[in-house]
Symmetry: C2
Subunit: 400 residues, 2 copies
């Protein structure tokens, strides 16, 4: 009987379950992390792929360079420079098959079994999934002092290999890191020579307020490139154009680029040149910017609908985050409530949510849950929150 690799002892199929939860047509799903499909620019995507395949089949349908096509890398580098990372050049940019692959590449390139990763819990489930095959350990970033600490002083272990953050509208909490926290994090990374992963899938989805500077722009000393600072940045068109393009990117310090490219070609040889040229076309012709703007308008309404419904419906003792952007609200239930119990009862009431404990690598908070507000219309959100509140209230009454 074939035995799976040891890392499966710590694996789960949470992502698979989440992606499937919304499939039942009679269930309102607040469980996924899916964009609103009504935003997808189908005709523009059709035109872009057709244009590329027809005008340059020999290049767009062939294998491409492992690091990605040069014009897309140059365009991303120019965007990064414009946003303050002044020394980034095309050489620093590596195109990935979705930004999930970027996380896989980082783990595969940097981690030996037992190496540690520093992070704030709860965190992105897909990152934990990406790194599990490398069998890492985890440590919480200690924010209690003047500057964040990556390694507990009581710990005999070495520094973590890298620290992972989602500074904008973190999945699952929706929280945004302040500018002061960003500066402190970069200073600590430079002091301890620790790589910072700045995962930024939701950056374009800000519905109010002003975005603090990115970690990479704080870390970048400017000047002539290629960039060689302490931050790896990951981006994607999944939230601004369409997930199915599977086009993401990493902005990588020069000293790590070679290793990441070797890793990348082992994983899938190259990301589709056809899709990369189509994504480039969709960015250059303004379709991405326009889709992104429509997303902000739509998601702002849905976020507001969710916050209003929570305010109106939730029983006392339930609290939640008020995200300035992104896709998620994080709900904390009264102490002692088990969100898995709520999950089951909510499913009976035909509402899907995600129990919060799956987003932890170390110390799960069992009285938490994640709600998504991007994938269903506002009236449906209100209906779902009402049902959910009923479930939570009923549970509280039963417990009393």
């Amino acid at each position: 009987m074939t035995k799976l690799a040891d890392w499966f002892e710590t694996s789960n199929d949470a992502t698979k379950v989440l992606l499937r939860l919304g499939a039942r047509p009679d269930v309102i799903s607040l469980a996924g992390g899916l964009p609103a499909p009504e935003l997808f620019p189908g005709d523009a995507v059709a035109d872009a792929f057709a244009h590329v395949a027809r005008s340059a089949p020999a290049v767009s349908l062939q294998y491409g360079p492992a690091e990605g096509i040069e014009p897309l890398r140059a365009l991303i580098a120019a965007q990064m420079r414009k946003e303050g990372a002044g020394s980034v050049t095309a050489e620093n940019v590596l195109i990935t098959t979705g930004s999930q692959q970027g996380l896989t590449l980082i783990g595969q390139t940097l981690l030996n079994k037992g190496d540690r990763i520093a992070l704030d819990e709860p965190t992105f489930l897909g990152a934990l999934d990406a790194w599990r095959p490398r069998e890492p350990g985890y440590t919480a970033i200690d924010w209690s002092g003047n500057t964040p600490v990556f390694k507990p002083s009581s710990d005999a272990e070495t520094m973590p290999k890298f620290a992972y953050c989602l500074p904008n509208f973190r999945n699952p909490t929706g929280e945004t890191m302040t500018l002061d926290a960003r500066k402190a994090l970069v200073a600590a990374a430079q002091r301890d020579d620790v790589i910072l992963i700045e995962d930024n899938p939701y950056g374009a989805l800000r519905y109010e307020g002003v975005q603090p500077a990115s970690l990479i722009s704080i870390a970048d000393q400017g000047g002539d490139g290629p960039y060689d600072g302490h931050v790896i940045y990951t981006g994607t068109v999944s939230k601004t154009l369409a997930p199915a393009l599977r086009v993401g990117w990493m902005v990588v310090p020069q000293r790590l680029l070679h290793g990441l490219i070797i890793s990348k070609q082992g994983l899938d040889l190259c990301t589709s040149p056809l899709t990369q040229y189509a994504a480039l076309h969709l960015i250059e012709t303004g379709v991405e910017a326009e889709t992104s703007e429509r997303a902000r308008d739509l998601y702002r309404i849905r976020r507001d609908a969710m916050l209003a419904a929570l305010e109106a419906e939730m029983p006392a003792g339930v609290t939640w985050t008020r995200p300035e952007g992104g896709m998620f609200v994080w709900v904390t239930l009264p102490e002692g409530t088990d969100a898995h119990d709520i999950f089951q009862r909510a499913a009976d009431a035909r509402v899907a949510i995600v129990p919060g404990d799956v987003f932890y690598a170390m110390n799960p908070a069992h009285n938490t849950m994640r709600l998504n507000f991007t994938n269903v219309p506002e009236a449906t959100i209100a209906e779902a929150v009402q049902r959910l509140a009923g479930v939570i209230e009923g549970r509280a009454r039963n417990a009393a």
Copy 2:
């Protein structure tokens, strides 16, 4: 200074170098493994993507299931059953981002550090690249007896986790495994409970003769599925349609499917549904079959041109394989010749080849090289072989 993971101590950038070798416009490249770009059905691909994106944007542009879209999985299962693997159902099929990702998935799902892989050398470089991050060991399949042996009796180690083969037109040698060898291999795998990987990227590219039965059809006992035998099969549209679709698949025993799907979602969440639906459309409308037939016609001519040129030009003491299909001829130089030396001198004569030693995991033969015959027209092949023969002859004269 950030240290890369330990597996980089054994890594090389051979694939990257090979993919770039052909880029210099004044060099004739026999080095790559690229299809002829003039075969790519650009207009049909344009139509397929446009049709899918326009007619079903909500599904084709969204995230999809980690295992792939059901209709493509069902179509591949039906093809496998037609080719003799009678118990294969859609449930056994996992869509991958190119068949390279299938190899990565197998390594990630089955290998712990130090686990061994059995194979015949020389072998596919991309497979070695895919498995290197898992830090495996290697063992040669012993074919000296009545039945192949996966584990040398002198060896204290356990059985290999799996055995890897390219039964049809092996990269890099072009050789095809006989039916008797296939039967013996499957019997040995069943006896020792070892998984066999049947990597079949070139199966459709047969230019003469009859294909022996696939390993999976020999291993499959038929009957009601899902299939749960000893063979994992991998296929791709890269050689029959276009590499840039990055659509491959694995046919997987039922007991391994769950582990492979968990692995897959960690790597890139899902393969693009847009591309999968487009590939399905291109298969269903006959474009893939037609492209494949045009490839066979074109590549037969190019293979014959290469074999004729080798016959006419090569000095005594040089031998080569005569592949019935695929993309490569394997050349053995006189004992003592270093193919890296030939590689350098050939580059000076503006011809690119691949020194054979990069295709070995254990005991490299330094007097070997791989020639590709699919990517350049027959007159150019003849010119390249003539230049190469001159280099080899000159080298022999200098050595004498």
